[in-house]
Amino acid sequence: MFEQSVSSNDINLYDFELLQEEKKNLQKKFRRKYHIFQTNIFQILTLFPQVLLKWDIALITLLSTLVRNCVAVGGFTGESTIIGSDNHHKSWINFTSSFSLKKWALSNTNTEYSRPIIFGYHSLLMSYLGNYLFDGRHKSWFTLKALKLEENLEFRSFLKFTVCLTDALMYIPPAIWFAKMYGRLVAEKVNAATKNTSKTTFEIAAVGHLKQLVNFINSLIILFQPTVLLIDHAFFGYHGFTLGALLLSINNIFDNKLGGACVFYILAIFFDQNCIVFAPVFIVYFLKMTIFSFSLLDFASIVFAVFMALSLLYFPMYIYLDSQETLNLLKTSLLKLCPLTFTNTENDSTNFWIYIKALFINKSISNEDLKLLSRVVKVVSILPTCIYMFKSCSISKKSKSKIILLYGLASCSLSFYLFSYDFDCTSIVLPMLPLTLIIVKCNQIIDSKEKGNSFKVENNNYSLHMLFFIQNMSMYTIWPLISEYDLFPQYAIIIFLYNWMFGGLDIFSASHIQLYIKLFYMLLYSIMALTIILSESIVLSTEFQDKMNIFMFLLSHSSFFVSWLWLQYKMIM
């Protein structure tokens, strides 16, 4: 409703100047109060005329596409970066070279084929596209044997282009949608609270303008998320699709459309089986909102939607396979869904369980036991979240339970990340999504004149510092990947870009924070920077390097553990 009062064209020049004046006053007032008004990107955006915000969707899309393309630019430094980087990629080429959906769907032994069904459809689509575009010139592209990546710049660019395309179709629109919708939710809440306050139309209009700006920046915060940028675009991977589907499902929940949310969650989980880390929270939420609130019709509609989605997914298979094979297929696809069964217990754990094992030298613990232990710890760690969610979510308090859902998703996925037996540093992408969404939640203008308002803002600012610290920490965890494939420039630039744009390091210039907290953060950041610089610049002995790696791993894991505790605290408070 704010936008309507502003966008009417018959504001004459005098009014326009008044509006500008009011906006300047408000900016001055808010600058001290809100974190987002101190960020560099905000100050840049205010330099340009307001009309630019009519093009916000185009600008956000283009800016995030631009940064993706920039990250993707990279030379071949020695070893070819892509082939070694990810197993997905190998399976992608293998799969598309044979074009046999059947063979791929039925195999359950080869880990290269261990991807769920939508991933298969997606790569099939992309390879069709590639064949259509380049078949005339590069017949050899989709066969692994003839592939020499060093020479084939075009092929590499095409692969990166498909990642960008997937992002542009699946990830960018839901991110913009989320930021806008969250802004609107807050506005509605505030409107309901302060209906009768006496405000001039100019003030309302100016606040509306500023809120548009804030939404703009919030969508950029989601889309410039550094780990996704690095892992998807500097390496190779289609996490954009997964995160986009997850975001769509969260958006649907925020829009009170549970059926749609279920369908999109299925889309996500059938693209990347790691999405199962969100399952407990989603299941608890869906059950609580439908069957335990005695709205059976909703429940029935959800079940129906899920069945429809599943049958649509497997319909193409029905054409290819006979009945025996179908049973086989269902079995394998179920297996594929549970990444837990795939972890090979012959290998040592890559997570911190290996150190636990080292502690008990006398009593020898087998890997099987460790795996069991990790499962138990995992279940125990997600139990409080689930119980709290079950208790406090309800239909009558929808807006509150939506925020609890965000916290729940973050803490649940983090506990999976912390305590699972197998550890892959790329899987940090999943917990980072809800954590980024919580940044959006904290970056809002709370306009009401309640008593607790200033306290709330202060509180938000504290959380923001913590959340940005977690963002930086997530970048720190993927350092081993970076050092292995020599992607240091992109890594450093992305970190600086993110912190510069959104004020991630503003904690050192903030006035309201005590000195000892600042010093603590300073210490942590300097340790992080020091270790990275040490391992990048100086050739160390392998022994020392190993110790350093262990130290880095422990540092990142313990800080994630602290942030997990902090999330529990935040959720319950």
Partner: protein
């Protein structure tokens, strides 16, 4: 205390709006600097080796056509190069970093200028200009540096400090050889606004004609200009260069013989359309030859037909139309520059000056010989200063910039930056066209824009399908290689049509709309 003051000054500097915008763009540039390890510009690859020795005469024995000051600049860079730098990859990195640092000079210049409201928009649009961004960081050139000096001299003209403007402009000629084509316009404004006194002029005898000139100011001006020239040529004198050396150097920079259309970077100018016309005529010619209809064509049959697949690039010989002599180029340029400069003698306001400067650059770009497509910056930079004055100028500006930027795409034809150049250009277009549109002053009479607004908008938007269509033609190979040439022909002609139309628009407004310029 002084440390604190310095610190606060630095933070103030970093807080200024233009620096913030530049830092934001710097992050994107850094990605390219560190990861895009190729240099397309073949001339600049070995320049550091050549300029290592301090002997400017020898530099010009190589195949280089850069003016002296630029060579000294390269010499300084090669001196500053760390000695342990042997790895060719690190060398490229070093060269690319020097581009960014030299661009920073341009940014500092604009930062001082951008304190006023509209100037911020102008300076932001120049330092973020996709032409400069793509050419400097991907293609590899020092455009930001050179055009920064040109912009500085324009700014000094605006502030009416003519001596400084003259000095800086003279220096900038020695940085980029193409700036010399603006000499008539700059001379006119210097003479008219600085050296002439016309207010109380009465013609009594021929001697009174001498009183028009402010002789002491003329002396000052010549002193300043000649000192700038001498300063730029000092190393030549130190090396005891003879007159012959100077002559050789001059002809190296401005060669006597040159092709009509540059072979590697065909520009989008009149001659592209000319060659299209020639091409279609020669096709007709072939056809009539076959059916033996018209006598005229039969007569021309005796001439050998240039059967080349290359439609534009090898088109310095024409089949049906007469060849273009350098004389003809000169006549065209002289005529249009003359038309642009005449009004300056009646009215030498900044607005008039910058309009005439833009038209001079247009005439060079459109009718010049051996022009490269990168030279479109010559037109874009002055026009950016001009567009803020009137809303009607916006449409020609939009046409010029969009077509000009798109016309330099083919020289950066690496597949991994294809998407990037498109997105960057689109972002720039959206941001600056809309900002200019909302902050440009409306003309006093509030007249409707005469120029075909909608049509040009459609034209600009359809640049995108055109790029994709030409890309498809480039990618697919049907039966022979012919389609690649047709694609480049379509591409160049489309762009040149836009640029020529924008030239018409500006010329019309310049010559027939007196209210706008007073």
């Amino acid at each position: 205390m002084s440390v604190k003051q310095a610190f606060s000054k630095i933070t103030q500097f970093l807080d200024s709006p233009l620096i913030k915008i530049w830092v934001f763009s710097l992050f994107f540039k850094l990605f390219l600097i560190f990861n895009y390890t190729r240099i397309h510009n073949t001339k600049l690859v070995n320049i550091l080796d050549i300029t290592k020795t301090l002997s400017p005469i020898k530099w010009y024995h190589e195949d280089l056509d850069y003016p002296p000051l630029f060579m000294y600049f390269q010499h300084a860079i090669s001196l500053l190069k760390p000695k342990q730098l042997k790895d060719p990859r690190m060398l490229i990195l070093y060269q690319k970093l020097t581009v960014t640092i030299s661009e920073f000079i341009c940014v500092i210049i604009f930062n001082v200028y951008s304190m006023e409201k509209y100037n911020l928009l102008i300076s932001a649009s120049i330092i973020l200009n996709p032409c400069i961004f793509l050419l400097d960081n991907i293609y590899f050139d020092y455009n930001g540096f050179a055009y920064g000096f040109l912009a500085l001299s324009i700014i000094h003209v605006q502030r009416k400090s003519i001596l400084k403007a003259a000095f800086i402009y003279t220096v900038s000629i020695f940085l980029n050889k193409n700036f010399i084509f603006m000499v008539p316009c700059f001379c006119a404004i210097f003479v008219k606004s600085y050296c002439l006194k016309l207010e109380k002029f009465e013609f009594k005898t021929y001697l009174s004609l001498l009183k028009i000139f402010k002789w002491n100011k003329i002396m000052k001006l010549t002193l300043v200009i000649s000192s700038a020239i001498l300063l730029s040529l000092i190393p030549f004198f130190v090396q005891k260069a003879t007159f012959k050396d100077f002559e050789e150097t001059y002809y190296k920079i401005y060669p006597k013989k040159s092709l009509l259309i540059n072979e590697k970077q065909s520009p989008s100018n009149v001659w592209t359309l000319y060659s299209l016309f020639d091409n279609s005529l020669s096709q007709l010619f072939k056809y009539f030859n076959k059916i033996n209809k018209f006598k005229y064509f039969a007569k021309r049959n005796s001439m050998p037909v240039n059967e080349s697949n290359d439609f534009i690039n090898s088109k310095n010989l024409f089949n049906a139309l007469p060849d273009i002599e350098p004389r003809i180029n000169f006549y065209f340029i002289a005529f249009y520059q003359f038309l642009a400069i005449i009004p300056l003698f009646f009215n030498y306001e900044f607005k008039r000056f910058i309009g005439s400067l833009t038209l001079c650059c247009y005439s060079i770009y459109l009718f010049g010989r051996n022009i490269k497509s990168t030279d479109i910056l010559l037109v874009i930079i002055p026009f950016t200063f001009l567009v803020i004055f009137d809303k009607r100028l916006l449409t020609p500006f939009m046409l010029l910039t969009s077509c000009g930027i798109v016309s330099i795409f083919p020289i950066i034809n690496s597949p991994d930056v294809f998407m990037m150049k498109l997105t960057y250009t689109t972002i720039w277009m959206i941001i600056f066209y809309i900002s200019f549109n909302s902050s440009v002053k409306n003309n006093a009479e509030n007249r409707r824009v005469w120029f075909f607004d909608r049509l040009s908008l459609i034209y600009i938007v359809s640049l995108f399908p055109m790029i994709i269509f030409c890309g498809v033609l480039n990618t697919f190979e049907f039966k022979s290689k012919k389609y690649k040439q047709i694609a480049s022909l379509i591409y160049n002609c489309y762009c040149s049509l836009g640029i020529i139309t924008s030239w018409f628009g500006l010329s019309w407004l310049y010559n027939f709309d007196e209210h706008m310029w007073t």
